[in-house]
């Protein structure tokens, strides 16, 4: 298992390099421009100077190598310096700078990460917690009323886009009932009970929207996987041996059914980091998804490049984790 993991990790390096090049090339080919959003009163020659100051007058390959150096050498050194307090060289390294804010991209990401992890991560956890029991009951009582309602709700949750459910919840709970705020206050610091309640209130709507979406997806997997196992021979054997129905269901069937589900859940973890672009935008949660969409709209290429690349790293990493988990959970599978 260890050599397998090591081999996969080594193999990930050329994969990621190729991904970074493809992202860079695609972004370079995209016909948008960082000066595109500026008012037309700014004359063309000034725009040309702005582009030059962003380094856009350099050849493509040079810019790519420059980004590689900034991202793989300068940024890690910078993080190391900050963590240890040591000084490498003169410390005056060019970091990856966002074009819109002219500030280091990594700082922006660090600033955004907690909100995304809280809102999107919590929604993922809730989604899983809701999905597993519903999936189990739905499968055990196949075609019962519970199963029918569960299937209906998960189909609705899965097929209605979050930009609709999000706005719907805002209209009902913020505009009409006025229970929850429609705008996420990113300056709120939890210091006492009332600010904690405030935080819960402002997280309620975005978390609800995303939980519904996540739960709908995972429920379907749990249900399908449970149904597969319920009809296996070992279940009949267990029942014939007189094992209690509760044990059959929760120990024998559920554990076996969860193997593929755990993989699916692990594969879904990177989507937490990439944030929920639409939901974050609707509720103005200052997470990574919102950062990405603003960067895309403003043609802030270094920011888009760095964010997408980090997502690529996470996806490659969690694919590996899912594979390893599979091996650990299912003794029949051995990679070596």
């Amino acid at each position: 298992m260890f050599t397998y993991t090591l081999r996969r990790l080594l193999f990930a390096i050329p994969t990621l390099l190729i991904i970074s090049f493809v992202i860079f090339a695609l972004l370079d080919l995209a016909p948008n421009d960082p000066t595109g959003d500026l008012p037309l009163t700014i004359p063309p020659e000034v725009r040309e100077q702005i582009r030059a100051s962003l380094g856009l007058d350099q050849p493509f390959f040079f810019r790519y190598l420059y980004w590689l150096q900034q991202f793989f050498i300068n940024e890690p050194l910078n993080i190391l310096e900050r963590m240890t307090g040591w000084q490498f060289g003169d410390g005056d390294r060019m970091r990856v700078l966002s074009w819109a804010t002219r500030s280091p991209v990594v700082d922006l990401i660090v600033q955004r990460l907690p909100q995304t992890l809280w809102v999107v991560g919590l929604a993922y956890v809730f989604g899983v917690l809701i999905a597993v029991p519903i999936g189990v009951i739905s499968a055990y009582k196949q075609y019962s009323i519970f199963d029918q309602i569960g299937t209906f709700v998960s189909m609705v949750g899965y097929s209605v886009p979050t930009f609709f459910t999000g706005v719907l919840l805002v209209v009902i709970f913020s505009s009409y009932l006025q229970w929850f705020p429609s705008v996420y206050d990113t300056n709120l610091v939890v210091t006492d009970f009332s600010s904690f309640v405030q935080q819960i209130k402002q997280m309620a709507l975005p978390v609800a929207v995303l939980s519904l979406f996540n739960a709908s997806q995972i429920t379907r997997f749990v249900r399908a996987s449970m149904l597969d196992n319920l009809h296996q021979d070992y279940v009949r054997t267990a029942r014939a041996k007189g094992v209690k129905e509760k044990s059959v269901l929760l120990i024998h069937v559920l554990r076996n059914s969860l193997i593929p589900v755990v993989t699916v859940i692990a594969l879904g973890v990177p989507t937490i980091f990439s944030g929920a672009i639409i939901t974050e935008q609707i509720f103005r949660v200052n997470g990574l998804g919102q950062l990405l969409i603003i960067a895309v709209q403003g043609a802030d290429i270094p920011l888009v490049q760095t964010l997408t690349f980090i997502f690529a790293v996470l996806i490659v990493l969690f694919n590996l984790i899912a594979d390893v988990l599979y091996g650990i959970l299912d003794p029949r599978i051995r990679y070596d």
Binding site: G36, T41, P44, S103, N286
Partner: protein, 569 residues
């Protein structure tokens, strides 16, 4: 009847009370919550020319003089506006002198001097800095300080309208001490200075979260001891225009929201909730349809829309250009897409009032399908079996491009329908705004390349003087591959008589004469069909009824008088 009187009296009293709230002491009115649906990226307008950055920074850093809501110059950091009459502007128009108000302090307590003004100019013209506001300092030869309270600007050539450098929210003065080591290529590296510039304005940046939220507190060293009334400002960014409008007008979570680009009927419904109101101000923005004077036939490949392609086969006919304008019912376009935020117009310079012409309103503002049809009939354009007019094998069928935006697409549909009534066909196309306005020479979809027969967008000019703007239609400003598609004469209009008149304008100093010339130039463009002006667009913002003192301004930052805002009681 008695009740009505009582009600009226009450309203008057309430109004009077709301007016007096402005006299509150500094910092007594709590937090002012502003919502910009496009989040602010930096507080340094020299590094980003975006409107949102310019507006947000105007609460912190100030120019020497700014425009008020009527478009008149008012002194901010100086004692008076220099003019030829008061001796502030030299008789030969080669220099001007500003006198700084005594006792003005930066928010860190240090005195504001002429040195800071000189530094600001040097900061923006430094090579490799990519200063977004460099155009404001165009024609400035030097900035000197005869004494710490005096700034003398010398120009490279006579400037009949000298109010550009250090005037308006686009060219505020920054502190020399703070930015001294941030000049040129070093500018982007100074993150903390760019996010929290020290200023002379009513507020000071407390915390800046890029692309998200800015927290500001009242400036303890602000020159008016009684202002600002608010102790702090929270400027939140992100989302979309409709939900921003909802947060002010329906839920009342915010006091002020900028740029309400929302369908008029949706806005009207929100206003009916009774929590806020809309403010509109008309500046110089005009939505227009540019008519390509060169041939844009795709079969010409890289030559299309350039001089080599030759004149446009049908749009070069003045009768066609006029008929296209006559066929459009501008009031329907305004009603459907703009509501209170638009007025039908036939001018490319629609404001200020002194330079706004009315000469062409008589024939142009009203839709006249019959006259348009007659014009085309007389010019020999005959309707074919498909209802599209043609002459000598040339069809009146146009590719109509614009940027992606729901109002623009709706307008495209309306215009297409109106043109179909005079036998003119249109194929509609739209490109994402960041591509359309992006100016990438490699992209075929930019408005500069104009690979279409007609295209629609909005443009305007800064401040109140249209000279520079009207010079955009000069023959030598036509975009072409030779100049990398740079050049602002997008319709490829070229008329030596026009060029001559622009030359005359640049030599005229008397305001009356300038206005007359500007009107003439504007009329020339409309009459000769360089473009079809459609809608004079206003900026719309919404504010809560609990906020007093808002004076919507289209000539400068909308937040120009934020120091005077207060909580209505």
């Amino acid at each position: 009847m008695k009740n009505l009187k009582l009600l009226l009296a009450g309203t008057v009293a309430a109004l009077a009370f709301a007016g007096s709230a402005a006299y509150a002491a500094r910092g007594t009115d709590g937090d002012l919550k502003i919502l910009f649906w496009q989040a602010v990226s930096t507080m340094n307008p020299y590094l980003s020319g975006g409107t949102k950055e310019v507006y947000a920074s105007s609460m912190v850093i100030e120019p020497l003089a700014r425009y008020d809501e009527k478009g008149e110059l008012v002194p901010t950091l100086v004692t008076e506006i220099p003019t030829v009459e008061n001796g502030g502007v030299a008789k030969d128009l080669m220099s001007m002198t500003w006198k700084i108000k005594p006792g003005v302090k930066w928010s860190d307590g240090t005195p504001f001097t002429a040195d800071d003004v000189i530094f600001t100019w040097k900061y923006c013209i430094a090579p490799d800095g990519g200063c977004a506001q460099a155009a404001q300092y165009e024609g400035v030869k030097s900035v000197e300080a005869p004494d710490p309270q005096t700034v003398k600007i010398t120009f490279t050539e006579p400037k009949p309208y000298p109010y550009s450098a250090f005037v308006g929210a686009q060219s505020p003065v920054i502190q020399k001490k703070q930015f001294e080591n941030c000049v040129g290529a070093k500018a982007p590296g100074c993150t903390s200075a760019n996010f929290g510039p020290i200023g002379t304005g009513p507020f000071v940046v407390k915390e800046f979260k890029p692309n998200d939220v800015i927290t500001l507190t009242a400036n303890a060293n602000y020159r008016d001891a009684a202002k600002p009334a608010f102790a702090s400002v929270t400027l939140k960014g992100g989302g979309d225009a409709a939900s921003a409008a909802r947060a002010v007008l329906e839920t009342g979570e915010y006091d002020y929201a900028w740029n309400m680009q929302v369908e008029p009927e949706i806005l009207a419904k929100m206003v009916a909730a009774g929590k806020g109101k809309l403010e509109t101000a008309f500046g110089t923005q005009v939505e227009r349809i540019n008519l390509n004077h060169y041939n844009a036939d795709p079969s010409l490949g890289a030559k299309r829309s350039t001089k080599e392609a030759g004149p446009h086969p049908s749009l070069s006919d003045p009768a066609v250009r006029r008929a296209l304008s006559l066929a459009i019912d501008r009031s329907i376009i305004v009603e459907a897409g703009y509501g209170a935020a638009g007025k039908a117009t036939c001018n490319i310079v629609p404001a200020p009032a002194a330079v706004a012409s009315t000469k062409n309103d008589s024939w142009c503002l009203k839709q006249d399908i019959a006259a348009a049809n007659k014009l085309l009939d007389d010019a020999g354009w005959k309707k074919g079996p498909d209802g599209i007019r043609a002459k000598n094998g040339v069809k009146l069928s146009y590719l109509y491009a614009t940027s992606t935006n729901s109002v623009r697409q709706a307008t495209q549909e309306l215009v297409k329908d109106m043109w179909s009534q005079i036998g003119v066909g249109a194929e509609l196309r739209n490109a994402s705004a960041s591509v359309f306005f992006g100016g990438d020479p490699a992209s075929p979809d930019t408005f500069q390349k104009f690979y279409a027969d007609v295209e629609m967008y909005t443009n305007n000019f800064d401040g109140t003087d249209p000279e520079k703007y009207l010079a955009e239609w000069l023959c030598d400003k036509v975009p072409s591959p030779a100049n990398g598609w740079q050049g602002q004469n997008i319709p490829r209009y070229c008329n030596p008589a026009y060029d001559k008149l622009v030359g005359e304008l640049s030599k005229t100093a008397e305001l009356d004469k300038r206005a007359t010339l500007a009107k003439q130039l504007n009329d020339m463009l409309t009459e000769e069909g360089a473009h079809i002006p459609l809608v004079h667009r206003g900026s719309v913002s919404s504010h809560s009824l609990k906020l007093a003192g808002v004076k919507m301004n289209a000539w400068d930052s909308e937040l120009w008088n934020v120091a005077d805002w207060s909580r209505a009681k």
